[in-house]
């Protein structure tokens, strides 16, 4: 150590670039070391980053893509798709389009892809499925002398002479479509390509989205009303008691949602524990309808989601020392007023975080309404599952999912604007 000292003091006084013991420039050496450290850090994070990319980000983008994806007509009727783009969309398409259609249908028949096209076109005009299948079955066509393909088609089925059917083909002759997103919002595309509200008897999803938001709103309100006082109580209890009670809050939280919903069915049904207890006590004359309606859905969802309100509120309240309230009171404020002016504003971030969490989880809720609700309680996710599992209409499932995702992102943006941008974090 002592031998190094003079060299060090020399290096420090001389105004030249510093070098390490091996003569290398110190700045270069430090930069390399810094780079190595960064590489190590990246290597540590990489597995998780890749995992998240593959299981989270990629599926989300695929979902978003799927909601506007429209491959059937473009892929299986390629020549028609190309030619129909230049159609004036007033009279019937030209003879070349009909001939291209005949060629495409012949190829599709051989490749056995006719049902896919038929299914897609049938979404826009019902009956299109049978028309396509009937026509494809007759392929390939032998034309008599002087006969046009157009006449032959119309002779086969007069619907081919209807421009509306050709409109549907033209509309779907591109690889993306707003159709699923429009349908999810009870809209449809006019011939001009602008959205308009579907006729009243065809509307469904607006009211389902409305119902989803309405149920989520009330579940959030009930969770806040029940959870926040509990969190306040827990935060102000002695540590031993609050730990014990915290376990009681967490215990159901660790139980499977399915098990909890099933238990609620047992408790709430007509012959269930609650009804029989109330009837035996003579409080009610006949069983209350508690399950398979909105009441049951509210009870079970509030119960399942309560911890999401309690935990963030508790952690925020726990971090507020009692001296704040004491200070406010010593400055002359009434304890109630001090609570609202001093204590409450400091808990807003935690309470809002809990509320947001519950609301976001609610709008995607599936199992509780599915098991404990009537058809009137089914929310958007139920229809996502329905389109995925029952009708195999992935476009609709993806469109509904995308809209849910957009709703969630909007709420989150709203939250960070209202609470996150606040000065609360500076305390």
């Amino acid at each position: 150590m002592l031998e190094v000292m003079p060299t060090m003091s020399q290096t420090l006084t001389v105004n030249a670039p510093l070098t390490a013991a091996d003569g290398e420039l110190l700045t270069v050496k430090l930069a390399r070391e810094h780079r190595n450290k960064q590489l190590k850090a990246v290597a540590l994070v990489a597995p998780l980053a890749i995992f998240l990319l593959l299981t989270f980000l990629v599926p989300i983008f695929m979902l978003l893509g799927r909601s506007v994806d429209n491959p059937e007509v473009v892929t299986h009727l390629p020549a028609t798709s190309q030619l129909i783009a230049s159609w004036d969309r007033r009279a019937l398409p030209s003879e070349e389009v009909f001939q291209a259609m005949a060629r495409d249908l012949t190829a599709a028949k051989e490749a056995k892809t006719v049902p896919e096209v038929a299914k897609r076109l049938n979404m826009d005009i019902s009956g299109f499925r049978s028309l396509i299948q009937k026509t494809a079955r007759k392929m390939p066509l032998e034309l008599a002398a002087g006969e046009t393909m157009r006449d032959r088609f119309i002779q086969m089925d007069e619907r081919w002479g209807d421009p509306d059917h050709w409109h549907v083909i033209a509309k779907n002759a591109k690889s993306w479509t707003p159709y699923y997103l429009y349908s999810s919002l009870d809209l449809r595309e006019t011939k001009a390509g602008t959205p308009e509200l579907a006729p009243e008897e065809e509307r469904a999803f607006i009211s389902i989205f409305g119902r989803t938001l309405w149920i989520s709103f009330w579940v959030t309100v009930f969770c806040l009303l029940l959870g926040d006082p509990l969190a306040y109580w827990l935060a102000n209890l002695p540590a031993r008691k609050s730990n014990l009670l915290m376990i009681l809050v967490l215990l159901p939280f660790w139980t499977s949602v399915l098990v909890r919903v099933a238990s609620w069915i047992v408790l709430l049904q007509r012959e269930g524990l609650i009804n029989s207890a109330l009837m035996n006590l003579g409080i009610i004359g006949e069983p209350l309808q508690l399950a398979f309606n909105r009441v049951g859905v509210y009870i079970a969802m509030v119960h399942i989601l309560l911890p999401f309100v309690i935990l963030p509120a508790y952690s925020v309240m726990k971090s507020i020392p009692p001296t704040y309230m004491r200070a406010a009171i010593s400055l002359g404020d009434h304890p109630f007023a001090a609570f609202w002016k001093i204590y409450f504003p400091q808990t807003v971030a935690g309470v809002a975080a809990g509320a947001l969490l519950v609301f976001i989880m609610c709008i995607g809720y599936y199992i509780t309404p599915a098991l404990l609700g009537s058809p009137e309680e089914q929310m958007v996710s139920y229809y996502v599952a329905f389109y995925t599992n029952v009708t195999i209409n992935w476009g609709m499932a993806a469109a509904l999912g995308s809209l849910l995702l957009i709703a969630t992102m909007t709420l989150y943006g709203l939250y960070s604007k209202l609470v996150g941008a606040n000065k609360l974090s500076l305390g």
Partner: protein, 372 residues
């Protein structure tokens, strides 16, 4: 330091027979009688659990006395809720409202008192000027240093001009240098405003620096309440002698007691003349207290009533002075302070030294178990 003349009308706060128990079994404050004078800086000093903070909290209204009366002026405080007492308070962790700016924090007590907007602005400005923070009115507490937050807390407790301000270990979280600076600043503010301050601390140095009077607490009882210099020079019992400043203790047995003086025999048979302050009768054990700076060495000790032989055990270097640790009359840990200039360079560990002190400087007190 302060006027010894005072009458009943000078008293601002009085505790009469106040007791406090949390569990119903043990008393944390035992029968407290205390008068706090108008304009006084009174410090409650004591180790943790001695009841000093409980007294402060009873005065603030956050605890209620189990028994006894607390009066502010001529008003009985016992049943006045804390928000109606009009007492300023500075908390240990400052308790500044984190979601309000400094100016909003200061305006808070004024808004509650329904003052006009311009008056609030004026007063906030004045209070910020007092603690020299004019430039930081729009900062949030989280953006300030501990010392700055401390000043804001002080300004907030003073801005509504209460006649009494309580401070609960307000400097506990600051580093040493800042703490000493703030001690002086608080003292000056007290002198300028003429308010009454009740200050709680466990730091005896802080108590001595700032206070007009210090009440030393132990086990829920005030052991002694006096001005700082009296506490230091004339402690009434071993606890106070050991708690305030540095102290040397010599244990012995009282052999003769006359009026104000007594003769005490030490363990090795030497006898010492001491002022009898807190001793029983002849034959009882006593602990004598003498301050390190009252002990004289070698030729300075020649004129003293008490002279003893000591063995030099250790030098401890402090820059401006050197402390000598001595073994005296078979007891170790006896400290003497020698200014750096008066140190004899021939001294070394193991040397015999003559030490001595005046009989009035050593006080025979109750036999103690407390040691440094």
């Amino acid at each position: 330091m302060m006027s010894e003349k005072h009458t009943a009308s000078d008293t601002l706060v009085s505790f009469r027979g106040v007791q406090k128990s949390y569990d119903g079994a043990s008393l944390i404050v035992k029968n407290l009688d205390l008068d706090i004078r108008k304009g006084e800086f009174l410090t409650m000093l004591g180790p943790s659990g001695s009841g000093k903070t409980t007294c402060l909290m009873m005065l603030a209204g956050f605890e209620t006395p189990t028994h006894g009366e607390i009066r502010l002026g001529d008003k009985l405080l016992n049943h006045v809720p804390p928000h109606k007492r009009n007492i300023g308070m500075v908390f240990q962790n400052y308790a500044l409202f984190p979601h309000m700016t400094v100016a909003e924090n200061l305006a808070y007590p004024l808004t509650i008192r329904k003052m006009g907007k311009s008056e609030i602005t004026d007063r906030v400005k004045k209070a910020l000027g007092m603690v020299k923070l004019d430039a930081l009115a729009n900062r949030y507490p989280g953006q300030m240093s501990g010392g700055q937050q401390q000043r804001v807390a002080l300004a907030r407790a003073l801005v509504f001009e209460p006649q009494l301000v309580l401070m609960d270990e307000p400097l506990g979280a600051l580093d040493k240098q800042l703490r000493e600076h703030m001690q002086l600043e608080i003292k000056h503010i007290h002198e300028n405003l003429g308010i009454t301050v009740v200050y709680v601390t466990h730091d005896q140095g802080e108590a001595l620096t700032m206070s007009d009077r210090v009440a030393v607490f132990k086990d829920g009882i005030i052991q002694q309440i006096d001005a700082a210099n009296v506490l230091y020079e004339k402690p009434v019992n071993s606890f106070v002698a050991n708690f305030i400043g540095e102290n040397n203790t010599l244990h012995g047995e009282v052999v003769a007691l006359h009026d104000q003086h007594c003769t005490v025999r030490l363990g090795n048979g030497d006898t010492v003349q001491a002022a009898a302050v807190c001793v029983g009768q002849a034959g009882e054990a006593t602990s004598m207290s003498i301050r390190p700076e009252r002990v004289r060495l070698n030729r300075h000790a020649e004129a003293c009533e008490n002279r003893l032989q000591a063995r030099l055990a250790e030098f401890i270097y402090f820059g401006d002075h050197v402390r000598l640790r001595l073994d005296v009359a078979g007891q170790s840990g006896f400290m003497v302070k020698v200014p750096a200039g008066e140190l004899d360079s021939s001294w070394k560990v193991g040397d015999k030294l003559d030490i001595g002190w005046m009989a009035r400087d050593i006080r025979a007190l109750d036999a103690s178990v407390y040691t440094h």
